[in-house]
Each structure stands twice: as C-alpha cells, then as structure tokens.
Symmetry: D2
Subunit: 355 residues, 4 copies
C-alpha cells in the first residue's frame, strides 16, 4: 500500500498509466541519454571535440547497454545514479572523455526532470481541455435546470445549474494559461557543472548550453542548481489544479446526498454491506487528491531552503514529492472527466425524493 | 506569544510595522467603506438610484461613526462583521436602501482583501528591489573574493563570492516579475451578491462591477466567491519569496561558522551565557520565516476545497493564514536587507581563523 | 488581520481570553522571574551562594522593575529577550552574580514554556471535561431520536442520535487521558547551561535541577535543549483534539442542511444579504480550527531537525506556531461547548422540512 | 520516480524491503482473509452459525483462489476491494452467508491496517533498539573525545563526543516506550458493521468482537470507524522518530564539513564531477526523510475531519499517506544504523585539517 498508484488493486482507483509512463525509470533513463548525447554534440559544435567525435559519442550513448543493478548499487553508494550511469557509458566508449565532461550529476537529473515536466504539462493541458469541454457539455445539457445555491452549507437562493458549473469551469482556463505561460521557466536545460559556474566549459559555457537546449527543445538560461523557485511554483500549480477539482468533487458529494438529490450519477460504488447504496467514489477521490497535493506542497516549499551550491537533503525531498504530485494531478483530471460522463441528471426535481 | 509579530519584545524580531499597518483593523474598515461607497456611486451611475443619492450615500459611508464593539458582537453572532457594519452604516443614513443593496458580505471582505493585497504587493516589490540592489552592492564590493563552493555540505571547488551572490539574486527578479504580472488576477473587485450571480443587479451587474472596479482601481471580471485559485497562488508566491530568502539565510549561517569563516557580520546577537558569541540572528530568522510560510501554504491550498457557493470553513481558514504569510514575507525582506548591511566581509581569508 | 484571535472584531470569533492570558507577555515575564528566583534559591541550597543570598536575590528578582522597551531592543539584537532581561535584573541587584549564573537563555525560555503548557493543559482538560458532559447531556436529552446514518456522504441505515454522539464523545476521554499521562514529559524544568551539559554547576547540576524543579512544580530530568520530541508530541495532541472537534463541526454543518434537517440550532449567524438564513458559524469554525492546527503541526515537526546543541531557526519556528495551536485548541473547545448549548433539536422529524 | 522506494535504482537509497513486505498487497490480502476467517469462527462460537460451519467457512476463506484483476475492477467501481473480495470468497463457498455477514468493508480494511501496524511497530522497536545500541557503542568508542559544542551554528564551548551522542540517544528510549505503550490503542479490531453500531450482530456484537480480537491477537474495544485519533497519533510518532533521526543526520552533515572535521565516514558518496568528494549521503537522507514525514503528518491530521459514519475522502487520504510514512520511518532507522557503522572517527583532532 506504500504506492497506491501502482498497487495491484488500489491502482485501479489511484493509478494513471499515462502519467506513470512519463515518470517511469525507462523514461528517465532515456532522458539521461538525451542529455549526454546533446552534450556530446554541443562539445563538438563548440570545437571542444574533434569533428565527428561528438556525434560518435552520441551514437554510443544512445544505444550503450546499461545495467540497472549497477545503477542501483551506484545510487546506494553515491546518492544518485549518474556516476554509475556515466561509468557504464564510458566503458566501451570509443572516447570516454567525450562523455559527461564538464557536467555534473545534477545537470543530468534536473534536465531529465525538465523533459519530464514538459511531457507532463502537455498531458495536463490536454486533460484540462477535455475536462473543460465536458463541463461545457454538461452545462449545455443541464444548465437551465434550477438548483438551490448553498452558502455556508445552507440553502440560500435558487440559481441555475449553469451557474454552479461556471464556478467549476472558471479556474480551468486559468490553469491552462498558467501552465502554458510557465513553460519556459520550467522546461529549461540545467547545465552548471560541479559548482554551477560552467567553468569547465569556459569560455564556451553559454554556447554549449544554447546548443544543448536547442537540441533538447528546452529553454536555455542561467543555472538553477540551487534556485528551486520554478519547480516549487510548478508544484503549486499542480495543487491549484487538484484544489479546483477537489471543489468540484466536494460539491458533487454534497449534491449527491439523497435528501438534496441535486445530481444523479451512473456507476456509483457499491458497499459490501448495503446493496442499496451508490457511493460517489470519484467525487470523493477528487477531494482526497486535492488534500493530498495541498499537503505535499508544503514539502516542496521546505525544499526551497537549498543550502550552498547543492543540497542533497532538499533535492531528495523533491524527488520524493514532486512525481507523486504530478501523478495525483493527472489522475484527478481523468477522474473528473469520468465523473462528468457519469452524470445523468443535474439540478431539477429529484424524482426519488419528491414523488 | 500567540502573535510574535505584535508581541512587546518578540515583535522587535518578528514584527513589521509597515505590513501590520496594511492589514490593520483600521485599514480593513477603510476598505469596507471604500467598497460600499463605490457601490453607491455605481448604483447611481447605473440609474438604480436617483441622481445624487449614490453620492450622498457615499459621503455618509465615508464618515459614519462605527462602533467596534458592535462589529465584534456582530462577528461573534454572524461569523463576519459585515452585517453589523451595514446595520451601522444604514442607521442614520438618509436612504438606507442606497447602501450595500445587492451585495453580500463576501463582496466587501474579498474586495477589502484585494485592496490590501495591492498595497502589500507594492511594498513587497519595493523591498525586493531594495534587496536586489543591496545584493548587487555586496557583489560589487566583495564579488571578486574567493569562496569555497560547497555541494552536499562538502567543500567542492573554489568559486567567487559573486557566484554565490548571483544564486541569491537570481530568484528576486522572478519574484518581482511574477508579482507584477499577477496583479490583475489578485487586485480584483469581488461583486457577486448573495449567491455569486449578480442577479440582484440585473441587468446592470457587469456595468456596476466595471464602475466599482474603476473607482477602486481594481480589475473587474467574473465573480470569484468560490474560486480561490488566485489567492492560493499569491500565497504560493509569498512562500517562494521567503523560500529564496531562507536559502540566503541558511547559506549565511553556514558561512558564519567559525571554522569556515566565509563571512563577517556586524551586530550579531549576544548570549546570556557566552559573552564571546556572535550569533547570526537575522540569518536564522530567514530560515524560520521560510519554513513558517512553507508550512502555512498547505493550509491555503486545503482551503481551495471551497464547497458550493460559499464555504465558511474554508474562507475563515484563509483569514487565519494569509495575513500572517504576508507579514512574514515583509519581515523576511526587511531582515534580509538588514543582514546585507551587516556584512563586513565576504569570502577571502578569514583573519581570525588563520592568523 | 494578522492575528485573528486578538483582532478588534474577528477576535470575538477566534479569540480566547483565558488562553491568551496564559500566553501573554506578562505571564511569560512572570515565568522568567520564577525561573531565576528558583535558580537563586537552588544555588544557595547547593551551597554555591552564601546563606541568605539566594533568597535575597530571589526577592530582588520578584520585584525588580523591568523595561519592556529594553527587552524589545535586546530581542532585536540578541534574538531573544533573556540577555537584556538578565542585565536588567542584575542592575541594582545586591549580588549580580547570584542571578542566572550557570544558566542560559534557553533554560529560561523553555522552562517558561513548560509552566505555560502546565496551565494550558489544566485548562484544556477542564474544557474537555465540560464538553464531554455537554455531549453526555445532549445524548441524554436527544439520544433516543432516530437519525439516518450516512457513510461516504450517502444515507445508509437508521441509527439513534446517541450513536452519533457516542462517536463524538469517544476521543475526548482519550484526549484527557493522554494529556494527563503526558504531563511529566511536558511539564519539565529546562536547565542545561550554555551547551546543555550543566558543566557550570558541576558537581551540583542535578541537585540544583532537582531543587528548582521542586520549587517550580515541574519534573526534573535530562536536558532537552535539542530534543523537541515532547513539544512536537504535545502539538500533535492539540491537533488531535481540534481534529476530533472538527469532525463534530463537520457533522453539524451537514446535519444542519435544510433538506436533511437533522439538527436545529439557536443563534445561527445572519447574512448581510439573506435575512432568512441561519448559518452554523461555530460548527464551521470547528472545521477551520481543525484544518488550521493540522497545517501548523507540520511546522512543529519540521522544527524537530534541531541542529547541534541549539538551533535558533528551529526554535524560533516553535515560537511562531505552538502558541497559536494552543489558542486554537482552547477556542475550539469553548466553541464546541457553546455549539452544544445552541442545539435545540437533534434527529427526529424536522418540523420545517415535513410540514 | 513516483515511488522512490520501489524504483529500480532510487529504491536502493529510499527502499526498505522488510517494511515493503509488511505493507505489500499479498500481506494485506492475507490480513483480509484472517479477518473473515476470524469472523466466521466467532459467528459459530456465538451460535449464529451451526456447529462446524464457521470453521468450514474459515477453511474455505484461507485457501479460496482470488483473482487480483477482479479485485482491481471492484476497487475501480466500489472505491475499495472488499465487495469484490467477498464476492469471490462467497462464490464456491459451501455456505456463502457464513462469510462477511454483519461486517462492512471498513471492518476488513481497518483490521488489516491494525495487523500491519502491529508488525510495523515490532520492526520499528527492533530497529530503534539496534540503533540505540549502535549509538551506545559509538559513545563507548569515541565518547571521551573533545568536540566543539555549537549553538545557533556558532562555536560555543568544548564538550565531549559523549554529550552530543547523548542528545541523539535520548529520544530513542522515549520512542520505544511510546510505541510500546500505544500498542493497545493501535492494534485493535475494527468491527462495526455498515454504520458502526454492530446492530447486525445484536445481541452478540461485543462477544463476537471479543472472540475475533482474541483470534487475531488484537485489542477489542469500541468501534473506531470515524475516530481516527489513534491512527493520526501513530503517524505523529512515526514523524517524531524520523525527526529525531533527522536531527542526527543534520548534525552529521555539519560535522562532516571539512573545515570542522568533527567526523570521518567510510563509504561516502561519490560525485560524477569531483572525484575527491565524499558526500554524507545517508546523513542527508535522514534529513530528507524527517522533512518528508513532517510534511505528510499534516495530511493525516486533515483526515481527522472524518464526516458522519464514514468518510470516503478522509479515509482514502490515510491510505495514500500512512504507508509511506511507515516506510520512510523504517528506512530512516536502517539508514541511521548504517551511518553509525560508517563512522570511523568522532571528535578529536582532524588529521587532515590540522596536519
């Protein structure tokens, strides 16, 4: 149960295959290779490797066999897999010194993170767009129905279903806009070398970075080894998204109360003891995921206190938290869309409550 | 000790008079009046009040005596001060129905928050600019000095003081840019009426909102009663700022270790037991405030689960947390600037350590 | 608004005068004096001061005038008030060296905290007992009424009101027992001297500590300068209490929904826009305070990473958080009891819903 | 990377096989069977099943084939695996009505949690004991060496290594005592039936519960469906433990700074860029795990607001968080013991720093 998303049965509720694939070990390893290959090309382009040797190194990097057990042993020893990864790449390489030279482990791992966040953002935007459309369709179908507005948990005044749905949709466009606008700040190359100065590349550091960024489809810019602002801000956006969906989920659980009867859902969850019950599982899940991400966000912000040129402790805390937040966000979006599809009635008279 | 910022002596460390003034009860009350006056003007402009009666109401609103004890009694009863505030305004008003008509308590309190955040943002931007300049000056004065870069708490390779300071400065420009870009999303009128639909103003709702926003110098736009995204995102920015300063503070505490001797500080704190000690109080405070805001942020994101048309519970949680975060951020910025001014040496040989 | 508990009108909702008094600056200062007086007596009892001089110092300590402005200035400089406090005590003392000798600032502040927590615990236990009785009375009066049990927000099966109330009462006895059992771990003298070794008192350190503990009515035991386990655990209990009350509050807000009509409350909060509404303010407040304390608790646990012999940063974080948690807990208990008294009907047919 | 503990290479750093086994899907499934078997026996003992039929059902339950895919499909539909689990058990059972009758899904899952926590507690106590002994041995070997005490990150006064180690050891005995004392409150049967009243078992509810508790080696007592105090308190203990170890880890990282040279470690982590470095990986990991658990704890306390007779949202939040906290705690303990074994010098002159 330590990983609900990949658990044999809880995974059916908490899991998200598409998100998991983006963050999988295989995907990370491919990103490591991409970084090293881009570096080799850039070193050659900068004239720091003889013509053809960067490309040759890149070709080797792309296909060199890698032993996961050695990566694990290296991680246990070094705290991260890159020293062992580089050793393996260099073993059997035609010119070992064409690989990783001037870079540091954090350059590889942070750039891999950037590539992962790029794919994550694309998927989240697509799902936000899908959900926005689903809510729009619900409003089209049910928007004219009457609904009792409730403030402070009390019946207030009648509104339309469209009013409630508008409050659900409203933040989605903001999320899409913010994710889109934030891409250059998140999808960035990391290249600083051992202490973040690019000194080992001097005087070609910025040119090498620009070349690599271009190859990888990332933004270039200053080194961000110890400036985790953009990562923490991204985590904040993830939690803002799940928070918006948690509001929808909370509303649906309240609407689904029998005496209110503001909504009818197909496919509600069954009970092992009460056959008559139909539980709003996915709506509850949205609340759970919202509170989960809200909780995690504090840890990402604790990790901003990133001492000196590299904090092992703060950085590892990001590893434990950020991927889980991304997965929870993806799952919340897919669950919200499924929930929309399950809605068969919104507002209006409840046939069961008032016969 | 339940309020370190306004405590008779702890306030000297944690307090921030300028920030406290922006969030003071008096300032809030002035914002309440501004909202009601702007509404009265807007109702007249929309033709919903006879000519001159909106202005007359606004004049009354601006100067009507208010009894704080009655506001307190009203808050105890109603959960917020606005019903009692409106009752007091209306008592003695020439036309009571010219006041607050069509609005709801949340409109007043959220708009007051927007006005407060506007002033807060201006002050934070000014302080970020000051701090950025102070760091620039430090880099000018000490940047060429050698410093041992440290990664994972271990000596790595020599860098220059300017490299370390660059990592401190780097996020500040981002914070200024993000605060500035985010102003229209935060400095917004709230006007929705009892259930967020502006129905009581129909068909003039949007015109009234636009007029009010113009009067108050706020952005207009959709009702955000239950969409707290922008508020939580603002809280995130506050914590990103204190996180960046916490990193500076952590670095300074580490540099100030005698055996490292990377920095000399004037005005270090004394000990009641060890006269020889000079403690880096303000640097520690930066770490404290960073961890405080990181902690609080989770609560602001929990408050995103804002059920139905208005959640009393989630909204009150914002009241308990956001003002404290703003104050901590302001204090961190002033403390960071003071800390910069206290620095008398950065990097280079430590005269005391190596005689 | 940065301190809702002491705000001119929000304080009527969030404030708690009895708790505030326990944590007030005056109360803290009295505890500082108590510590120093107990130390003077103990030094004399250990033969480290001539006969009568400890008592003379204690008499001076008890009445010496203290200038709060000087404490503030000292706190700004030293990060805590004790050096300035000791300087003032010593000025004009017949034998300055009879005061504070061998102790350190943390000894004074942590012991003051212990004394404050002792009073806090007594008050919380009294209020828990009161609340338990109020719930018992509610069960006596309304327990036989039918109520629809709800699981996963859905009507499940009929229960009795007594069943629901039992779930509310159940944790209260645990809280009382845990607070009581934990008293020796929390109500402890702190006496370690500058680096926590009591070296300056050798060979009388333990005897002096035992004497002081006896005078102050605290437990003696090992120094806990850097071991904040008991403090963080206490904070956890505070949040467990508010969590239990938050569950009650959440239940009441749900029961109070008109269509459910499971409860009737006197004195509900009014709305500035909807005169017909009666909002369950105190029930919402219980949810707010639960989520507030749950949020804060993470900060208290971050402060467990208390480096070396004394961490300024971690310790100051406790100051910012723990007192607020205590106050929120006290307020939640009083609000819960008031809420019980406001209940006029529980369960049974809702006269308004089914005429 | 969404599960660092079970990641192909990060798992070598973050993983804990023994803990993972306790929380594995297989172990949980075995606990589900144990619950149902114990119930069948108890029903027979209470005379609610003909003689022999409870035992026959239990035998069937112990070996009935179960299809994980069906459990997954059931979880996706019902929000939990138990309805599908019970359906599978009943299919092919000689008397289906002998299985799960009167119980509810939460009874099974919470009792499985109790059984898991029992095993977890035993393992944690064993590891705390091991670590305590390792620290004792370090103190024996190095305790007499001089060490500079540091307060507020500044050199204070000389102490002995034994003084520092004493501060590390001190909370361990408390943790063992608290875990031990808390066992009856955590290792409890859950048996309430659909709405927590045991009504379906009347008048034999308490007798059945007592029989089951006896069979399972758990405490009996009142239903705790909606009272999550003990679970959240247990989570608090986990975070107290990792907090204590995080303090050790932070101290070690500080001691390992070259200029301080207070410690020498074998087996430090290597760098991909700086062959000369030896990074205190495990010490950093202890800080990371402490901050991780401190973060998570807030979520467990948010889950205390467990509405009505069963909150799906709050309960699922526990599932996402508590197992991870247990695993992080186990890993922190094993890492701390490994770290102790890696220490080759503590205190005393640093041969490298002062040649």
């Amino acid at each position: 149960m330590t990983d609900t998303a990949h658990h044999p049965w809880l995974g059916a509720l908490f899991g998200d295959e598409a998100l998991s694939a983006l963050w999988s070990a295989d995907a990370q390893l491919a990103h490591y290779r991409s970084f090293e290959a881009a570096l080799a090309h850039a070193l050659e382009a900068a004239g720091r490797l003889p013509a053809g040797q960067g490309a040759a190194a890149a070709a080797h990097i792309a296909t060199a066999p890698l032993d996961p057990a050695a990566l694990a042993a290296g991680t246990a020893r070094d705290g991260l897999p890159i020293p062992a990864f580089v050793r393996q790449l260099r073993a059997g390489a035609p010119r070992p010194e064409a690989i990783h030279t001037g870079a540091t482990s954090q350059d590889v791992l942070d750039t891999a993170l950037s590539l992962t966040l790029r794919a994550t953002t694309e998927l989240l935007i697509a799902r936000l767009t899908t959900l926005d459309a689903a809510l729009g369709a619900l409003s089209h179908d049910h928007g004219a129905q009457p609904l009792m507005a409730r403030t402070r948990m009390q019946a207030a005044l009648p509104i339309k279903v469209a009013d409630r749905i508008r409050s659900w949709q409203q933040p989605l466009a903001d999320h899409i806009a913010a994710l889109t606008a934030g891409r250059p700040r998140v999808e960035r190359l990391q290249l600083g070398g051992p202490v973040g100065t690019r000194d080992a590349f001097a005087p070609d550091g910025d040119a090498i970075a620009a070349h690599m960024a271009d190859t990888l489809g990332l933004a270039s810019g200053p080194v961000w080894h110890s400036d985790r602002t953009a990562i923490a801000d991204y985590a904040g956006r993830l939690s803002l998204i799940t928070g918006s969906l948690g509001k929808i989920g909370q509303d649906v659980t309240l609407m689904a109360q029998q005496s209110l009867g503001d909504i009818a859902l197909a496919g509600g969850g069954g009970s092992s003891a009460m056959a008559h019950k139909s539980n709003p599982i996915l709506a509850e899940l949205l609340v759970t995921l919202a509170r989960f991400n809200a909780t995690q966000l504090a840890g990402m912000h604790q990790a901003l206190v990133h001492e000196q040129e590299r904090s092992g402790a703060a950085w590892m805390l990001e590893w434990m938290i950020l991927p889980q937040m991304a997965l929870a966000t993806g799952r919340a979006l897919s669950a919200a869309s499924t929930l929309c599809a399950d809605i068969t009635r919104l507002g209006g008279p409840d046939p069961q409550a008032r016969p």
